[in-house]
Structures are given as C-alpha cells and as structure tokens.
Symmetry: C2
DNA sequence: ATCCCAAGTGTTACCGGTAACATTCGGGGC
DNA sequence: GCCCCGAATGTTACCGGTAACACTTGGGAT
C-alpha cells in the first residue's frame, strides 16, 4: 500500500547494528575508533555502514556528549577582504585541529542581528566562539556576558602582535626611504584591527623620533580611500606630506585612483604603503608596497585559545609580519 | 564539597517549566510561538526563560523534528571574490527565509576534502545543500548520489540566466563601440560560471555575426591575467585584437597591469571589460567597465529551490544583469 | 440543565547516539 | 581445577526538545 518508493529515513546505529549482528554500542565504538574491537567485528560493522549508507547524526551525538567539536564564528561584514580571509583561515585552522566552524554573519551595526547570530551559534552547542573583524565594544560585551563558552577574537592582539609589528615595519620602511612627513589613512576607529595597526604605525615612527603628520579615516573600502584623495593631494602640494600608510590595501587602491586625477604621482610625489597583501595588490598601478601578516597563525592561536589550548602538538607561533616592497614606495626625492 | 562554583549545565525546558509552573510542552509552545497560549502564561514562561538565561538546544530540537532550518553550503576556494560574495548572499537569502547556513570549505581539487565537507554538512541534519562556485563535475556527482536532501548550485544557470545574459551584454557593448576583433580571457573550463559566461559572450557576438578571435584561460586570479598579458599584447600589436572580455574583474586587473609594461594602452589600443563589478573595479587604472549580476537574487532562488520552493511570498526573480560602463572600454579608434 | 466545542494545558514516548555499567569468555598463574 | 583478569561485547538510561494525543475547563447553543 504505502510502500511506493518509501521515503526511507536514513539508517541509524540500530539498523547498522542489526545488519552487522552486533549491539549499537559496538557500532558506536567503531564509529569513534575505540580500541578493543576485534578487527573482524570492526570490518563487519564498517561493511554494514557502507551498505546502508550510514551517516552519523551530529544532533544526536551532540545531545549525548554535550560537545560538537565545532567552534562558532561570528563575522561582521563578510564582504571585506580582511574578514573573508580571517574566516577562511579559521576554517583551515579548525580543520587542522579536527574541528569544524559554524559561521554566522551579522551586520556589526545591528545589535539585534548580532544577538541573533550569537544565539544561533550557541544553539548549535559550539565548544568555543571566535569573533572576526569585531568592534572593540563587541568583544568587551561578549566577554562580559557569561556565555558558557570561551570567547576569542581574531587579530585582537591589542598593542602588540603581528598587526602591530607589521604596521611598525611599514613605518620603518618609509623612514628608511628618507620620508619624514608621513600621514596615515586609517580604518574605522572602533575596529580592533585598526587599533593595532594605528598603534603599530605610531610606534614605528616614534622609534625614529617622528609622529604622524596627518590622519585620515576611511571604512576599509576603496571608495573611502578615493574620498580622501583630494585632502591628501592638498597636503602633498602644500609640502606637508611625502608618504602615507594606508590601513589596508583597498583604501590604498582607492587613494591612488583618486590621486591620479590631481597630478600627484605615486611614488614620486607620494609614497603609499598598504596592509594585508591582498592578492590583487601586486597588480595595482603602481604595484602596492604592503604588509603581509600570518592570518593562519592568528587563526590557529584563536582555535587553541577557545579549545583550552589543546593544540595537539600544533605550534601556535605566528610567522612574523613581512613587508612586501613593490613600486608604490620610493626614496624621498629631495 | 563539590559545589565550588558549580559548572552549572545550562537550563533546559524542564527547568524553565518548573520555574514557570507549567509543563515542558507549554514551554516548547512558547518557544515556537504557538497560538492558544494565555498571554499571562506566555509571559510567565518568557520570564522564566530570561531568569535562567535559557537557550534552545538545536541538537535536541533537530533530533525531534528531523529539521534544522539550516541549509548546507559547500564552498570551494573561499578566497576568491566570486565565491565569497556568493556565500554572503546565501547567508542573507537564508536569513530572509528564516533559515541559517552551515558552511563547509573544501579544496575543489581534493575529493577527500569534498567528501568530508559533504559528510559534515549532512551530519548537521541540513534541509538542503547549495554548492558555491562548483565544478560541473561536482554538481553532477552530487546530484547523482542520493544524499536525501535537495541539491542546488549557485550560478548554475547553464546556457541562460543572469551570467549568460550579462556576458552577452558585455559583448554587445564592445560590438556597439565598433569592435570586431574581440577576444576572451576565460576562467577555468570546468567551472559552471565560466561555462555560463563563455556561452553568453559567444551568444552576444553571434548576434552581430561575430565570434571570438582569441581565447585565453586563467584561474580567476589577477596573476593569471597578468600571465596572459604578453600573448594578448602580441595579438594587439599584430592587429588581430582590439577588445577583450575577461571572465572576472581580477583577471582584467592583472591583464591591464601586465599590458602596462608592453606599451599597450587601455582603452585606446585595447578595450577591456570585466565581470562581477567587484567594489574595487571602479578604482582600477583605468576604471574597469564590467558587468554586475544580481547574486542575491540567484541566492534566493537557490534557497527556494532546496527548501521546496516555499519562498514565503518572497519573489525569486533576479534583477537583470547590468553593464557598468567605465573607462576601460572606448570606441574603436579606426 | 445538558451537550458540545474550542481554548488552553499536561503526559508520554520518541528522535539517534553514547556514557556508564554489566556481562561473557578465554587463557595464564598457582 | 580454580581463580583472576583483561579483552570484547551487550544493556540500560539518558541527553533536551517536540509530536501526538489526552485531558480540563468555561461558555454558548439547544
């Protein structure tokens, strides 16, 4: 009667157990690679699993074990290059540690969306939570609320770490080229990455007895860089500025595009240094000098942090930030 | 003894029910917004939930209902612009439909990783599966394997649809500018998007009685575009080529960067059109003429497709592809 | 007054794994 | 031969929601 192409609920441990002639517990042991299973029994179970196209049901497993081997990732603004790379790096770092990530996207400016995203990942029964590209406020708010899981933030090495170091490196590079009037095109003030990069830049200049002559602010987008071009051009023409540190490559791109119309030549009239080493940066015109940081290293550290430091032997040391010198930065021409 | 800051397992429906003086079923009804609950009862339950910081456990819910209101997303190559935007659009489309996405990243060239990713999202108890930026092979393989859930692919509108239409639009634009010797810089042949864009370009030219004079192939990256620059320059210098359609903006960027060294001027000697309308494209030098497609619309259609078309009244009609004309394309100069 | 019905609420079993504990069995030491 | 032990496997209850069904109640229709 009703057996017309039965929808056939997927097979569970019980079906597998029956087919293999063992108990469900034994099936469970095979699934989880427990010792003390006779090889022959293991084989029979594996065969039954294959025959029934068995797949574990994570929901059931999570219910029993209270662990999902998954870490939640909350990302704000998934269309920017930085966050995107961060998510990919976290996914890779998690994979290395035998974990998965559950990502929720939320507009950083919408508290309700953020709450929803957090509720969502928490409802998954995650073992830890990592924030990508977060606002300083957000991290604080989350750390304070007792969520019951460890919380970490990617690139949140305030005052030190790879981002800070990289920005200092970029500043030192410009100083080494003879520049003394150096400005900065920063990202949104409330982003942790911006804080690290800003502090790093200041620190790098400070070591040479300098400080920033100008500071502009963008929103990470190329457009926001272009929007500052007129002001930057004016400063250059006034002889007040010979080099600029952009907080990311895309703003540097926009800035250079905006400058092209105003007769300012990069790098002759203005040296430009970006940040991120976006894969496109080598093909900007001129090719952009920029800073590459070890995002994967940072991601590994975050994963280790939220999983209680059990890195399984994996090193969580980040490679040092590296300056990638291209055509957009040149020695000061008198 | 052992009550030193008890770890305190999170509260469940039972605790909430006890505190509110109702049954667990009533709590469940409140959680799921069922009708026929006295407002006062609802309030009591909500208050208890708040007091206990209650959070639903999706694992338990999924176990009972066999539905997670989550769709799985398998993404290959999460660092490219196209896939990234696709994932973000799917997340948004899912959100609109009251769903979430579970994303798994896998290297497209590693079958084991793909299998793992699929197993992972299936283990989550997803209601549907969407592939982003997939190879044609992969979609076929997945459709054929009976996974028990509907499968869709973003941008898989082979032979028609927005991608096809957009590419045709770009071709028509070049033809309209007087170009007759038009080449193409394509993406990897086995990508569905490449197929759509390639077919669209051919179709657009065909309508004018033309066909491609050259076809180069890249891997979507700017570098791969730059790597073809020498050959493209030779074709231009030989008078065999006056315009080129790039399969994405980043390859167009690389191509233009590579051409800069060989004395070919864009758009005077060669008109270049990209695809995607990457937010950076307006700031390339020269600003890139490109095609914008409604990725969100496509994402909505995928979500509707895998959830049985129940769009909840949301239209799944995509906005038509749009040509964005900038400085990289100019009329043919005799 | 009686019946009926819908609104509002409670009871019970179950989803599919797994932890904890129980059990069987074969062999080595005495 | 007896005891003990570890290897291999089975039994049972439970994780936290929810579907299915049962049950009260109060008021309107008759």
């Amino acid at each position: 009667m009703s057996d017309v192409t039965r929808p056939a609920r997927p097979a569970g441990v019980r079906e597998v157990a029956r087919l293999a002639g063992v108990s469900t517990q034994t099936v469970s042991r095979v699934i989880n690679n427990y010792p003390n299973i006779r090889p022959e029994t293991r084989m029979r179970v594996l065969e039954a699993m294959r025959a029934l196209d068995y797949r574990v049901n994570n929901a059931a497993r999570a219910l029993g074990t209270a662990s999902t081997r998954t870490i939640g990732v909350i990302a704000t603004d998934a269309t920017l290059y930085g966050p995107t790379v961060g998510i990919a790096a976290l996914a890779e770092a998690a994979r290395e540690a035998g974990l998965w990530i559950a990502t929720a996207y939320a507009d950083a400016s919408d508290p309700a969306a953020i709450d929803g995203a957090i509720a969502h990942v928490l409802a998954q029964g995650i073992d830890g939570l990592v924030l990508v590209a977060p606002h300083a406020r957000m991290v604080a708010a989350l750390r304070e609320r007792e969520l019951g899981v460890p919380v970490a933030a990617l690139h949140a090495d305030e005052g030190a770490g790879a981002q800070h170091e990289g920005a200092a490196l970029a500043a030192a590079h410009l100083v080494g080229l003879g520049h003394r009037r150096i400005g900065r095109l920063g990202g949104p003030v409330d982003w942790l990455e911006e804080a690290s990069r800003a502090q790093g830049a200041e620190a790098g200049l400070h070591r040479a007895g300098l400080s920033l002559t100008h500071e502009w602010r963008g929103d990470w987008s190329a457009r926001s860089g272009a929007d500052r071009a007129a002001e930057v051009a004016a400063a250059v023409q006034a002889g007040e500025l010979t080099a600029i540190l952009a907080a990311n490559d895309q703003m540097a791109l926009g800035l250079m595009a905006g400058l092209a119309g105003s007769g300012i030549r990069v790098p002759n009239d203005l040296a430009v240094v970006g940040f991120d080493d976006n894969p496109d940066a080598a093909f900007y015109a001129p090719a952009l000098t920029t800073v590459r940081v070890d995002v994967l290293g940072d991601a590994r550290r975050c994963v280790a942090e939220v999983t209680g430091g059990s890195t399984g032997g994996l090193s969580t040391a980040s490679a040092p930030a590296r300056l990638v010198i291209r055509a957009s930065s040149a020695p000061l021409t008198i």
